[in-house]
């Protein structure tokens, strides 16, 4: 009993110190202009269903080379990427390796999700709004491009990361990444296959570094 109390106190103390010495980084990522929304080329039938515009571009910012926290555990969380208005939402999802992603269909017609990406190859078939959302565990790091075979214009991306230190920008490109270890690491920003950046970042305990992509502040 006494040992447990001591361990708890030590853990709390360590966590408190870690929180005090954690570093942060913030800045902006220059995002491309939103792509022109595609049109459904319904050659042989009337268009069915309401169609939402695609999500504006965002980026994933992540720290590479940093040591894992001492209490790090494999990801077991579940997140969702919804299909609504013939779009994936969010269109860009960043998850840690091991995360399970559900793909609920919020439309009144069939959707499908498939990927031929090396990091995860799968096809969920055709599924309905009222069905239990099919899910995939992303167990390999990499970029997984998602498509719907029924609605060819639909595009989604899951960025699967080894590191727990990542964040998604808002639609203005603004990000803030907290709880980071001190040290000299690489900070990367990934927008899509054609647009990714990286910069060295020297993180000091208790301070917030500023890194903009591309270029320096």
């Amino acid at each position: 009993m006494q040992a447990s109390i001591i361990a708890l106190v030590l853990a709390l103390a360590t966590g408190s110190v870690a929180a005090q010495v954690a570093a942060s980084v913030e800045g902006t990522v220059a995002l491309p202009k939103p792509a022109a929304p595609a049109r459904l080329n319904a050659r042989y039938a009337a268009q069915a269903g309401a169609w939402l515009p695609p999500e504006p571009p965002t980026a994933v910012v992540f720290l590479e080379g940093a040591p894992l926290p001492p209490d790090d555990r494999p990801a077991t969380n579940v997140v969702q990427m919804v299909q609504k208005g013939m779009q994936f939402g969010p269109g860009l999802l960043a998850v840690r390796k091991g995360t399970r992603v559900e793909f609920p269909n919020a439309d009144d017609f069939y959707h499908n999700v498939f990927s031929y990406s090396k990091a995860k190859r799968f096809d969920l078939g055709r599924f309905l709004k009222d069905e239990k959302a099919p899910a995939i565990t992303f167990d390999q790091p990499g970029v997984v491009k998602l498509y719907c075979e029924i609605h060819e214009h639909m595009r989604g991306t899951v960025v699967v990361l080894e590191t727990p230190y990542f964040v998604k920008t808002d639609t203005n490109g603004v990000y803030r990444l907290t709880g980071l270890p001190a040290g000299l690491f690489k900070l990367k920003a990934w927008i899509d296959e054609k647009n990714s950046f990286e910069q060295p970042v020297d993180l000091k305990p208790g301070t917030t570094a500023r890194v903009n992509f591309p270029g320096s502040p």
């Binding site: 022109a36 595609a38 080329n41 039938a45 009337a46 069915a48 017609f109 498939f114 990927s115 096809d123």
Partner: protein, 407 residues
């Protein structure tokens, strides 16, 4: 059956190219569009490159022309253009050895489809379109391109030529019945529906809640041959009206009924008609029903058609044809498909006081395996076995391979 070298070469070629330069092809696919600064005009150019090889053990089945194995390359380009929210146009251009394999063995370049569509309401309740485009009859048209079709050939109803011709009237019932004992005359005879039937005219179609409807007014019958699909080759003196009504009670199901009626004889047949009769005296009337079901890895389609063609000096030649087709995804890349087809022919007076079946009854099973290497490369293998309920067999076994690049 020997495995034709062309099929092996095709498969080897597919394996070589499938893994390479995917990013480049994706970029190309994304780049082939134009949008005006205001967004009012948007044009997308896309296409399919098909390399097909057919190995035929007797005579070619369906709408495969010629008399031997063949290699059939095809380039299809699609230009989809949107003008604002209300106007859409499609142009489909093809370069190949004929719309049906080897129907033009020396090569052919043509515009298969062109249409302008007006959609006054964005919910799609009404669309009006004019041009040269696929028929609204049935449900097969929506998956007739090589990327969507799980098979390489069309269902029996859309490609099996019967002993009825659009070019002349038979001299007697005996002359008509004698056609049963000769090989298919594809330059003269007609199927129930000739492929996608890109005939010319106008249509109105739309979707209202669970219902979808379509009505078209075209220049030629749904059985008509491609040479008369263009309006400059055949006008609207003897038009065909076709319609389809569909119901989608839930996302998994779609039911449809179709009907089509119009003259099927061409002006060349006029001189051979009985005195006092004209081209409009002989109609093709076709009724059809279709069903679609899909869920998870399964897709199932079925269609049944009843057709009556009025044959000069003979009477009504009736036929019933149907198919059931299923596709199953075995893995994210690999799918298998099976289709059962049958056509049964009615009887006509034989001119000697009796009746006889006017054409050979026929059954066919189609099997296919397909593999999608990427979103832009696909390979398919098809094996078909046909049996005709007669001493004469047009075709028995067919082995075909198709490799498709989509951009």
């Amino acid at each position: 059956m020997r495995i034709p070298t062309s099929i092996l070469v095709l498969l080897a070629f597919a394996a070589q190219v499938a893994g390479a330069q995917e990013a480049l092809r994706s970029s190309l696919s994304d780049a082939l569009h134009y949008q005006s600064p205001s967004g009012f005009i948007r044009a997308d150019l896309s296409g399919l490159v098909d390399l097909e090889a057919y190995f035929i053990d007797r005579r070619p089945p369906g709408l495969i022309f010629g008399n031997a194995d063949l290699f059939n390359p095809r380039l299809s380009l699609f230009l989809d253009t949107h003008l604002g929210e209300q106007f859409y146009s499609l142009v489909q251009f093809r370069a190949d050895r004929g719309g049906d394999p080897r129907s033009k063995p020396d090569g052919d370049v043509r515009v298969d489809e062109y249409l302008l569509r007006w959609t006054p309401w964005t919910d799609g309740r009404v669309n009006v379109q004019a041009g040269k485009f696929a028929t609204v009859f049935g449900k097969w048209v929506q998956r007739h391109d090589s990327w969507q079709n799980p098979f390489i050939t069309a269902p029996l109803a859309y490609e099996n030529v019967n002993t009825i011709t659009d070019q002349s009237a038979p001299g007697s019932p005996a002359a008509f019945l004698a056609r049963r004992s000769v090989a298919d005359q594809k330059a003269k005879w007609l199927p129930v529906v000739w492929g996608p039937a890109y005939t010319s005219g106008a249509s109105v179609f739309g979707q209202v809640e669970q219902w979808d409807y379509a009505v078209e007014f075209k220049n030629a019958a749904i059985s008509s041959r491609p040479t008369v699909w263009d309006a400059q080759n055949l006008g609207w003196d003897h038009p065909t009206v076709s319609t389809r009504l569909g119901l989608t009670p839930g996302a998994a199901w779609n039911f449809g009924v179709s009907a089509s009626r119009g003259a099927y004889l061409l002006p060349a047949a006029e001189a051979s008609l009985p005195v006092g009769r004209g081209l409009g005296s002989y109609a093709q009337t076709t009724l059809g029903t279709d069903v679609l079901w899909s869920h998870h890895a399964w897709q199932v389609w079925g269609e049944a058609l009843v057709a009556r063609l009025q044959v000069p000096r003979v009477g009504n030649a009736d036929t019933f044809t149907y198919f059931v087709e299923t596709k199953y995804k075995l893995t994210p890349n690999l799918f298998a498909a099976v289709r059962w087809n049958q056509q049964l022919c009615g009887t006509v007076p034989d001119g000697a006081g009796g009746t006889q079946h006017w054409d050979r009854n026929l059954s066919r099973v189609d099997t296919a395996l397909g593999y999608r290497f990427t979103r832009h490369w696909q390979g398919k293998l098809q094996y078909s076995y046909t049996h005709e309920n007669a001493p004469f067999q047009q075709s028995e076994q067919l082995l075909a391979a198709q490799f498709t690049v989509k951009f």
